[in-house]
Amino acid sequence: MSISDTAQRTIPNRLHSRGYRLIRSWEVLLLGVAIIIFFANTQASPYFLDPWNLSDASFNFTEKAMIAFAMALLIITGEIDLSVAGIIALSSTAMGYALQLGAGTPMLVLIGLSVGVLCGAFNGVLITKMGLPSIVVTIGTMSLFRGIAYIVLGDQAFNGYPSDFSVFGRGYAFGVITWEIVILIVLAIAFGVLLHLTNFGRKLYVIGNNPTAALFSGVKVQRTKMILFLLTGLMSGLAAVCLTSRLGSTRPSIALGWELEVVTMVVLGGISILGGSGTIVGVVIAALVMGMVTFGLGLLNVPGIVMSIFIGGLLIGVIALPRLIGLIAAQRKR
């Protein structure tokens, strides 16, 4: 580094072209996987390509993907919310309770969403105001929220949701396209824009990469995280509305274990569990991959619990593989 060389140079904006960066991205790799699974499925079962079957199968990932978008933002900032399934249980229970008191569909939706936001606020206050670790807090609230649902319901269930309430989970917007898919597409675009094109989104990466430096650069770290916990609560509330509408009943065990599938979806989508990187496109593709795998295995009559082995293996596999390759490459070099 010589200072005598004072000739001003121009630093180019980008080192590599857009195409080069695209080809090397996780998302393109994942898209390849998705395409392979798609064709494997078409070969494995003749029922796979039926549009009504596909539309029906979309339910196994749409509600989870709604939460996964918000969870992705949270994980990018280095936090996590394991209470999302608990929030669904509590939110659904609150809707069922309101139903008993005679609430109509608009009121039910409002209550479902508000309870989600309140639960998110509860997590957010404990984590951002009191400085508690999100993983333990949300393990606690995961039990607490679902626990309240159990206290209210015991081994009972709320049934008899009004017929116009069922539109969220069972209604079709156009032809075979369900309202849930429409909601999901709108959310995917909204979250993609928020994360990749705004100030707010940029700050999430900064916080996830280095929260101290973010603070030292004037980013309101705790406030940003608080907003994300609220958003995750809201999305869980929305998922609760859709799921309750689809099932037409509320049991305290509703959406049990979903937190794992949501986190798997996010991590599979290329969001680093350590924070700081990943895209919404990746999460969308990951949702499709998981949906197709579940649907395909279902067509082959593989039981649900065995599919969970697959999901668990996928979760470990996608994070282990890059490290393993890196490790082997490093060994080679030596």
Binding site: M1, N13, L15, K203, N209, F216, G276
Partner: protein
């Protein structure tokens, strides 16, 4: 730099030309991604002698210590002990081979007791192979008494102050049956009296026949206790010999690689009105009653020992921590700063000492680092405008003559000096009134250092007010218009550039009596 060098070393310097070294390093090379920290250095340590290792920050001294203690494995080169080449795979290998170290950073455990901190990894055992806590306590007390530290072996480290933690680190190094003791800036956080005790300890270790590698920035102590010297510059060994055969000026010249005295830029001293006034800033544990003013176009140096509370105060001024009392006036108006965000709005920005942790976001590209605090200016309705973002980033990085392949390169791939330029560019883009530079040239190479100094002078000439925290006396003397000295969280001295001597600074910072 003419420090008092009349004190005679306590142990006589024997003629050791025919003595075989206890430990020799031959051609040690260590490379990190993008940086060659050590480029084939040699070093020999002799029984009963103190070898001083001198060099600027970033010369490779700390890397060498880590190689010697088994933390890093060198890419090439040999560690030879008693004519046998060995390899240290882990820290345990090094301590088994009789090499022990007092590290610069406290590598201790806050929630373990003093005794366990001293003996972790080599604790005395009962005949059942279990850790013998009773013996451990007794031995810990013995070692602590030996170094004159009156500490409860059952106290947890968290309860101790910095100086006492350092004594525990020294005790830990002495708890191993060692032939080679490495001391990495052991006096940096110690008081005058504690330093004297440390010197006595070094003399005792010498008389016990231990070989000592002593790393220090303080020339008075090098000439006081060392027998030999080795100079590193930019990862290379540039000189070695007997202390008796060299002068301080020669050492400094070897260190910086050019004659001393022309290192710093000259600049017009065109200082304007007062822009910042701090009144009675205090914190419960970190600093108390800080009062000073800063004028437009002025460079105000803050000198002190490591741990004097300078960075802590600066971070409070920048809104990271909250003061318990005190007030700030900017341009004569009271300003309330409760967060960095508010500090930036008020025109105060801070380039932190810990660049990797607090300054740069190394896994994000250069342009995103530079525009981070200015995002509001390059966006409309919260949406980023990429073209404006790149042009803002380009404007300031090119002004600082940043060397990078592209603006979307991750900051982590740049050299230390260029990373620092990115952090400074980030703040200049916010158009600040006051820039606080905390150890701005720590850990960067000599060339970049001069560039940073030149740039700092240029900024001040343009009317920006600069607060520079530095522990390097030449930098303080060369750059500051005025110097404030802090000790134990308080301002102890404030003086003009003129008439300032290194001795005066050191005395004020360490709290020596004038007559000492």
């Amino acid at each position: 730099m003419t420090l008092d060098n009349t004190k005679q070393p306590i142990a006589a310097r024997g003629d050791t030309a025919d003595l075989a070294p206890v430990l020799t390093l031959r051609g040690i090379t260590k490379t990190f991604p993008g940086v060659r920290a050590l480029g084939g250095v040699d070093l020999a340590l002799y029984s009963g002698q103190v070898t001083a290792l001198v060099g600027e920050n970033g010369a490779g001294k700390s890397t060498l210590v880590k190689v010697l203690t088994g933390i890093y494995r060198p890419d090439a080169g040999d560690i030879v002990i008693d004519d046998t080449p060995t390899q240290f795979q882990t820290a345990t290998d090094a301590s088994d081979a009789g090499v022990t170290a007092i590290h610069q950073e406290t590598v201790l455990f806050d929630d373990l007791t003093v005794a366990e901190n001293i003996f972790l990894g080599h604790a005395p055992r009962t005949r059942w192979g279990l850790i013998d806590w009773g013996t451990m306590r007794t031995q810990a007390t013995e070692i602590l008494t030996r170094i004159g530290a009156n500490l409860d072996p059952d106290a947890t480290l968290r309860e101790l102050g910095i100086a006492n933690k350092h004594l525990v680190a020294i005790a830990r190094a002495l708890s191993v049956q060692a032939r080679v003791v490495v001391m990495d800036e052991p006096t940096a956080a110690l008081s005058r009296a504690e330093i004297e005790e440390l010197y006595e300890l070094v003399d005792r270790l010498k008389s016990e026949g231990k070989a000592i590698l002593f790393i220090s920035h303080k020339f008075d102590e090098i000439f006081r206790i060392a027998d030999r010297y080795t100079v590193f510059r930019d990862g290379e060994m540039v000189g070695a010999g007997m202390i008796a055969d060299i002068t301080e000026n020669k050492l400094v010249e070897m260190m910086v690689g050019r004659p001393v005295g022309q290192v710093f830029p000259t600049r017009s001293t065109n200082i304007g009105d007062e822009i910042l006034r701090v009144v009675g800033y205090s914190h419960p544990t970190e600093f108390a009653d800080i009062n000073f003013g800063l004028r437009r176009g002025e460079i105000l140096g803050f000198y002190g020992l490591v741990g004097a509370g300078r960075s802590e105060f600066m971070q409070a001024l920048f809104g990271v921590t909250k003061p318990s009392k005190g007030a700030i006036k900017i341009d004569g108006k009271i300003a309330i700063i409760r967060s960095p965000n508010e500090a930036i709005e008020q025109g105060i920005v801070y380039v932190p000492e810990d660049r990797g942790k607090q300054g740069a976001i190394i896994d994000l590209p250069i342009f995103q680092n530079v525009t981070l605090p200015s995002l509001g200016r390059i966006s409309g309705n919260g949406f980023l405008k990429m073209a404006e973002e790149f042009s803002l980033a380009r404007k300031y990085t090119e002004r600082l003559d940043l060397r990078a392949a592209a603006l979307d390169q991750n900051v982590g791939n740049l050299s230390g000096g260029n990373q620092q330029k990115v952090v400074i560019a980030k703040w200049l883009a916010t158009l600040p009134k006051v820039i606080i530079l905390d150890e701005p040239t720590k850990g960067i190479d000599v060339g970049s250092k001069a560039a940073v100094h030149e740039f700092m002078a240029e900024l001040a000439n343009e009317g920006l007010s600069v607060i520079m925290v530095s522990s390097e006396i030449p930098e303080i003397l060369g750059m500051s218009d005025r110097v404030i000295v802090m000790r134990e969280g308080r301002i102890v001295d404030e003086c003009d550039r003129k008439g300032l001597t290194p001795e005066k600074l050191v005395r004020a910072a360490a709290g020596y009596e004038e007559s000492a």
